[in-house]
Symmetry: C2
Subunit: 601 residues, 2 copies
C-alpha cells in the first residue's frame, strides 16, 4: 500500500505505532490468539476490498438509488456483491467473540477496517454495520436458543440486520414510541406499530432480514422505562425450522434522501394483518439499556463514518490543488508568467490545513476512543478497565457530534477548492458533502449529544471521568513543555484546560442552583469548545510523537512529520482560540437564546 484515496496510510501507521502503541493490546490475555502482524494483514485486506469492491460503485449507487419495482426493492447488484465479498473475507464476524462464532478481534482493529469501508462507500458499509450491530446485540443479550437461531445467518452475511427505533412521531424522543407488543401463549409477542428511517429495512440481498425492534409491552411503565427489545425476522421459522413463513412486516414507503442514497431507507409497518411475531430479547422493559450498549459503539461508528467522508474529500482536494493550475501570487502580476498550482496559494493551503486538522484530529480521537472500548473490556488491570470506561463515556458524544460537525465543514472546503468542478456530480466531493450531512442528525442529534455531555456525563460519578481526562491532557501538556518547539502548544493547552474547568464549574454551579434549563441553553457551544480542546490534545500528542521521531537520526519521512507538527500548530493558532468564546457563553450563562420567546420570531 503506497497511496490511497481513503486515508493517508502514513498517518494510520504513525498513529498506531508512534502515538497509541497499538500493539500493546496483543499482550493482553483476551487477544492471546491474535498478533500485530495479523492485525496489519486485516487492515490491508480491508483496504484492498474497500478500494476494489466498495469504492467503484459509490457514485453508481448514489445515482441509481433504491426503488420499488413489482413490490420489491431494487438495489444495484454491485452492492450485494461487495457485501458478499465482505462477509466471505470474515469482516461480518470480526468483532464478534470467538465463542459466538466470530473472530474476536479487537474493537479498534474492527473500527479501523470499518473506516476504510466507510470512506470507500458509506451506504454499502451501512448494511454491513447494521448487520454486525444486530449480531452483537443478540450475542450480548440473547438466549442461547436465540444465538443459535440468528447468529450464524448474521455473522455469515446470509442474513442482514436492522435497528428499528424511530417512529414517525418520535425521532429524538424514544420515550414517545407507540409500537406495542402483546404476549402470546407460546411466549412470543405480537407486534404492531410503524417504524421510520429504517435503513436496510427491505431488499432482496439477503435470505432473511432480522429486525431489532423497540416496542412497549402492554401494561408496562410509561416512557423509556417501558421499552423492550424484540427480534422480528422478515421470515420466521416454520414447524420444520425452514425460514419461509413471511412475518407481517410491510414496506410502507421509501425515504428519498439528500445523501447516503445507496442504502435503502424505509418506513415499515409491523402487524397490519395482526400477524407480526417477535421474540423478546432479555427481560421486559430493558430495551433502551440493551440498545444503548450498542448505540455507544454505533456513535463512535457514526463519528468515524463522518471522519472518513472528510478524509476522502481532503485527499481528493489535496491532489486537485497540486495538479490544477490557476492564478498567480498577489504581487506577481505578469500575465506571461505561468499559472501556479492551487496549492501555492496560501488561502488554498489554509483550506487544506483546515480539512486535515479536522479530519486527522478527529480520526486520532476516534481511534483513541476505540482503544478505550478494548481497554474497558479487556485490559488486564481492573482499574484501567474502569478508567477507560469512564473516559470513553465522556468522549463518545464528542467523537460522534464534533466529528460530524467539523468534517462536514471539511467537505464544504473540499468543494470550495475544486470551485465549479466541485459543485458538479462528475467529481466526488459533492457526494461526500451530501452523504456526511446525515451524521449530525442520526444516532442522537448533535444538540442532544451536547445536552448529554454537559447535563449528564460531565457530572456523573462526581466528575470522575472529567478529572481523569483532564489529567491525561495535563500530562501531555507537561510533556510538551519540555520539548522546546512544542512548549508554546503545551502552555496553550493548559490555558484552555483552565478555561474549560472554569466554564464547567460555572455551568455545574448553575445547574446545582436550579438553573438547569438556562445552563443547558448553551450546551451546544460548550460541547464545541470541549471538542476543540480534546482535539487540540490529540494534535499535541501527534506533534510530540512527530517531534520525537524527527529528533532521531533514522526517521524515514521527515516531510510527513513536519506536516504533522505544522498542522498541530495550525489547529492551535487558527482553530482552538474559537473555543474561548464558546466557553465564555457557558461561563456567563448567556441567555440570548433562552430568553427568546416563540411569539417574538
Amino acid at each position: 500500500m503506497s497511496s490511497s484515496p481513503l486515508i493517508d496510510l502514513r498517518n494510520l501507521k504513525f498513529l498506531l505505532s508512534q502515538v497509541f502503541h497499538f500493539d500493546e493490546m496483543f499482550e493482553w490475555p483476551a487477544f492471546a490468539a491474535q498478533d500485530a502482524g495479523m492485525a496489519r494483514q486485516s487492515i490491508e485486506l480491508a483496504h484492498q476490498l474497500a478500494v476494489e469492491r466498495f469504492l467503484p460503485h459509490r457514485q453508481l449507487a448514489d445515482k441509481q438509488e433504491p426503488c420499488v419495482v413489482n413490490a420489491k426493492v431494487r438495489i444495484p447488484v454491485e452492492v450485494g456483491e461487495a457485501l458478499r465479498e465482505y462477509s466471505d473475507a470474515g469482516f461480518m464476524s470480526m468483532a464478534v467473540s470467538a465463542e459466538d462464532g466470530g473472530l474476536g478481534l479487537p474493537y479498534a482493529l474492527a473500527l479501523i477496517c470499518d473506516g476504510l469501508f466507510f470512506g470507500a462507500n458509506i451506504s454499502t458499509t451501512g448494511y454491513a454495520l447494521l448487520t454486525r450491530g444486530a449480531a452483537n446485540l443478540i450475542a450480548t443479550h440473547g438466549t442461547d436458543a436465540q444465538k443459535q437461531q440468528y447468529l450464524p445467518g448474521l455473522t455469515s452475511g446470509r442474513w442482514f440486520g436492522t435497528m428499528c427505533l424511530s417512529e414517525p412521531q418520535a425521532g429524538s424522543s424514544l420515550a414517545d414510541i407507540r409500537t406495542r407488543a402483546v404476549l402470546m401463549d407460546d411466549g412470543r409477542y405480537k407486534l404492531s406499530g410503524a417504524k421510520m428511517w429504517i435503513s436496510g429495512g427491505e431488499h432482496e440481498m439477503a435470505e432473511n432480514i432480522v429486525h431489532l425492534v423497540l416496542a412497549k409491552i402492554a401494561g408496562g411503565p410509561a416512557g423509556v422505562k417501558g421499552i423492550s427489545l424484540f427480534i422480528v425476522p422478515r421470515y420466521r421459522a416454520d414447524a420444520n425450522g425452514q425460514y419461509c413463513e413471511a412475518n407481517d412486516v410491510a414496506l410502507a414507503g421509501l425515504n428519498h434522501k439528500l445523501g447516503q442514497r445507496g442504502i435503502v431507507n424505509t418506513f415499515l409497518k409491523f402487524g397490519e394483518r395482526d400477524d407480526c411475531v417477535g421474540e423478546l430479547v432479555g427481560a421486559p422493559h430493558q430495551g433502551l439499556a440493551q440498545m444503548f450498549h450498542m448505540m455507544n459503539e454505533a456513535r463512535i461508528g457514526v463519528g468515524l463514518s463522518a471522519i472518513m467522508q472528510g478524509y476522502g474529500g481532503y485527499l481528493y482536494s489535496l491532489n486537485y490543488a497540486r495538479e490544477r493550475k490557476q492564478g498567480r501570487h498577489p504581487d506577481q502580476r505578469d500575465p506571461a508568467s505561468a499559472p501556479l498550482p492551487l496549492i501555492a496559494h496560501a488561502d488554498v493551503r489554509r483550506m487544506l490545513l483546515q480539512q486535515r486538522a479536522y479530519v486527522e484530529g478527529a480520526y486520532a480521537l476516534a481511534l483513541y476512543a476505540a482503544l478505550l472500548v478494548d481497554a474497558k473490556a479487556h485490559a488486564p488491570d481492573s482499574q484501567r478497565r474502569l478508567d477507560a470506561g469512564s473516559v470513553l463515556d465522556l468522549l463518545t458524544p464528542i467523537v460522534k457530534a464534533w466529528s460530524a460537525d467539523w468534517t462536514l465543514k471539511a467537505n464544504e472546503l473540499a468543494i470550495q477548492i475544486l470551485g465549479g468542478y466541485g459543485y458538479t456530480r462528475e467529481y466526488p466531493v459533492e457526494q461526500y458533502y451530501r452523504d456526511n450531512r446525515l451524521n449530525p442528525i442520526h444516532e442522537g442529534a448533535n444538540g442532544i449529544q451536547a445536552l448529554d455531555l454537559l447535563g449528564r456525563k460531565l457530572g456523573a460519578d462526581g466528575g470522575r471521568a472529567y478529572a481523569l481526562l483532564d489529567a491525561h491532557m495535563g500530562a501531555s501538556a507537561s510533556e510538551a513543555l519540555l520539548i522546546e518547539p512544542l512548549a508554546g502548544l503545551g502552555a496553550q493547552l493548559n490555558e484552555y484546560r483552565t478555561a474549560l474547568a472554569a466554564s464547567l464549574h460555572a455551568a455545574q454551579s448553575g445547574m446545582a442552583g436550579g438553573k438547569l434549563r438556562e445552563t443547558l441553553a448553551n450546551a451546544t457551544p460548550f460541547a464545541s469548545a470541549f471538542g476543540h480542546i480534546v482535539v487540540a490534545w490529540m494534535w499535541l500528542r501527534q506533534a510530540i510523537a512527530a517531534q520525537r521521531q524527527l529528533s532521531r537520526a533514522t526517521q524515514s519521512d521527515p516531510a510527513f512529520l513536519e506536516g504533522k507538527i505544522q498542522t498541530a500548530k495550525f489547529f492551535f493558532a487558527q482553530e482552538l482560540p474559537a473555543a474561548r468564546h464558546w466557553l465564555d457563553l457557558t461561563a456567563r450563562s448567556d441567555d440570548s437564546a433562552f430568553s427568546m420567546r416563540d411569539e417574538w420570531f
Copy 2:
C-alpha cells in the same frame, strides 16, 4: 400580504420604513416619475408572481433537471411559462432606464423584487437576471445600433442573455482565457474558443440567446488588459434582418450540479466550424472593466440569492419548530406529560436565532448596499454620490461572500431542526442547502473576495471608504449609547471598531513593508471578521429603530419589535465575539497556513 414562505413581510416593511427610509429616494429628480406607492405595488406584484408562478415548480425543476433530447435542451415547461409572465409583468426591464426602453425603477426596488423571485426559485430567476444583466451591459456600453438590435428582444423577454466568462482552464483567473477574436472585413469579429459553466447557454425557451463573451483580440496585450467583450447571438441577422442564421455556437455538454439544477449549465464551443461571428462592445481591451461594472451589481445579486435561500429555510424551519412536538425539558422527566413543540427547546431557539441573525442581518446589508447603488447614481448631492460609491465598493465583497458563507450555515441549521425529515427530498430545506452551496463559488470565489477586500479595496484612495464606513458605524454606536437598553451593544460595536482598525492597521503596515503574501494569507478570516462587524452594525441599526418604535404608544406589533431587539442581542452575544479571534490572526500575521509546504501534506 400577511404571511409568506419567502420573507417575513413585517421585516421588509420595517427595513424600508423604519431603518432605511426608502421613500426618500422618490424625492430625487431621477425618480420623479415614480412614487412610493408604485414601488409598494411592484413589490406586491413580484411577491404574488413569485409565490404563484416560481415557487410551485421549484422542486419539479430540480428533479427534472435539463437534459439533451434530440440535440435540444429540454426544460420543464413551467420554467418558460413563469419567465414569460415575469417579462409580461415588466420585470425584465424594470431596472433598465426609461430611455433604453425600461421602467427605470430604483435599483433597490428591483433588488427587493429579485429577492422574492430568488427565494421562490433561484434557478428560474437565474435566466431572468442573466438576461437583464446582458441588457444592462449593452445599454451601458453598446452603440445605438447595438441597442436597437438587441435591447427590445432582451427587455421584452423574447430573447434571453448569458455571460460567457470562464473557460475549462480559467475559472477564477480570467487573465488566462484563451478564446480568440479576429477582426473581419465588415468590422465584426470571428470568435473561437470554449466557455465553461455557462448558465442558460442553450435551451428552446427564447427566440434567441444573446451571449456576452469575453475573448482576446489577436495581437492585444497579455492578461486581463487584453480582454474584450463581444455580443454573440445564437441566431444572427440575415440580409433581411431576420434572426434565423445560426451562429457557430455549439453545445459541447451539460454540467450536472449539486444544486441549482433547474438552470441549465453548459459547456459551449464557439467557432468550431470557423463561423462564429460577434460584435465588439465598446473599445477593444475594455472587456473586463465593462464586465465588472455589471459584476459588482451581480455580486450583490448573488449575495441576495444566498440570503433568500437562507430566508426560505429559516421560515420553513420556524414553522416546523412551532408545529412539531418532540421531547421535554431536561428537568421534566415525566413521560406522561405532553411532548413540547420543538421551539420550546432552547437549543432549537438558538438554531432559529442563528438563522434569523444571519439571514435578516445580511438582508439588511444587501438592501443598504442596493440603496448605495441608487445613491451613487442618482443622489442629488455630488458628495453623497461619491461617498455612496466608496462605501458600496467596500461592502460589495461582504454582501457577496459573507452572505453566501453564513446563509449556507443557516440552511444547514434548518435541516438540523427538521432532523431526518430535513434530510429527505420530500421537504424543501435540503434543496435550499444544495442550491445555496454554489454561492460561495461563483461570481468570484469567496477567497478572492477576501483578497480583494483586504489587499485592494480597504487601501484604495487612502482608506477613504473605510473611514466613511467606520464613521457611519460610529454614529450608530453613539446613538445606541444614548438608548439605555442598547447602550451595551453600542459600546460593544465601538470595541470591535477599535479592534478592526488595529487589525487593519497591522495588516496594512505588513503589506507596505513588503509582506503582501504573508498578510493576505489571513485575508479570509479578516473578511469574516469585517463581515461580522458590519452585520452587527446592521443589527444595531435595526435594534435602534425597533426600540424607538417600542417606546411609542402606537406601535402595532410589539412582539415583532421585541424579536428584532432580541435577535440583535443574540448576534452581539453569540456571533460577534467570534470576530475577535479572526482579527487577531490578521493582527499578528499568523503564519501557520503561509508556512505550510506542499510536501508536508
